[in-house]
Amino acid sequence: SQTIHQWPATLVQPVGSPLSLECTVEGTSNPNLYWYRQAAGRGLQLLFYSVGIGQISSEVPQNLSASRPQDRQFILSSKKLLLSDSGFYLCAGGRTEAFFGQGTRLTVV
């Protein structure tokens, strides 16, 4: 079965600092990979998705970027965090269906 590993679970970062969230997938090859952001009391906003190594599609303009250096690795980054980047970030991956990691609670202070 597929497992999504996502870390860290919580993160507090100052405004203007860089960000790197990592996600890895076990149990499948060539998965579709996704990064979502979930604001408090709101739904999931698709930020990026990837269908293969080096292939990234962005759904919304923002202060974040994503990279897929390996088949089962998906990284969410920022050069300079904004207060508005705070939220709950979820990585998901899979072939015919998506499995989710446990999420990262990011607080920008």
């Binding site: 999504i4 996502q6 579709n32 996704y34 979502y36 709101r42 739904g43 999931l44 698709l46 998705y49 269908v51 599609s57 759904e59 709950f88 979820l90 998901a92 015919t96 269906e97 998506a98 499995f99 989710f100 990691g101 446990q102 999420g103 609670r105």
Partner: protein, 113 residues
């Protein structure tokens, strides 16, 4: 515009009562359809999915969902709700031939004794 709609933001039901959570989509083609559940502060767990075939699909934890093409709906049901079912429920779609997975805004379920 393409969208996934969950019209009910919050639903409260009594333990043992039946449940139906609504989901509608507006896409030109029949999408792949999913229901996920999220406990507070956690990731999402897949309850069930529909790709093709039988329009009534069974999932985990006693949930089922029915795809109705004429209504562009994929409603989630459970005949008897348990207190542990209290959570946030999300409907999601993938357009066949595409890869992006889009979610509705979610329905928060409260279960009262």
């Amino acid at each position: 515009a393409q969208s996934v709609t969950q019209p009910d933001i919050h639903i409260t039901v009594s333990e043992g009562a039946s449940l139906e959570l609504r989901c509608n989509y507006s896409y030109g083609a029949t999408p792949y359809l999913f229901w996920y559940v999220q406990s507070p502060g956690q990731g999402l767990q897949l309850l069930l999915k529909y790709f093709s075939g039988d329009t009534l699909v069974q999932g985990i934890k006693g949930f089922e969902a029915e795809f109705k093409r004429s209504q562009s709906s994929f409603n989630l049901r459970k005949p008897s709700v348990h207190w542990s079912d209290a959570a946030e429920y999300f409907c999601a779609v993938v357009i066949t031939g595409a890869n992006n997975l889009f979610f509705g805004t979610g329905t928060r379920l409260t279960v009262i004794p």
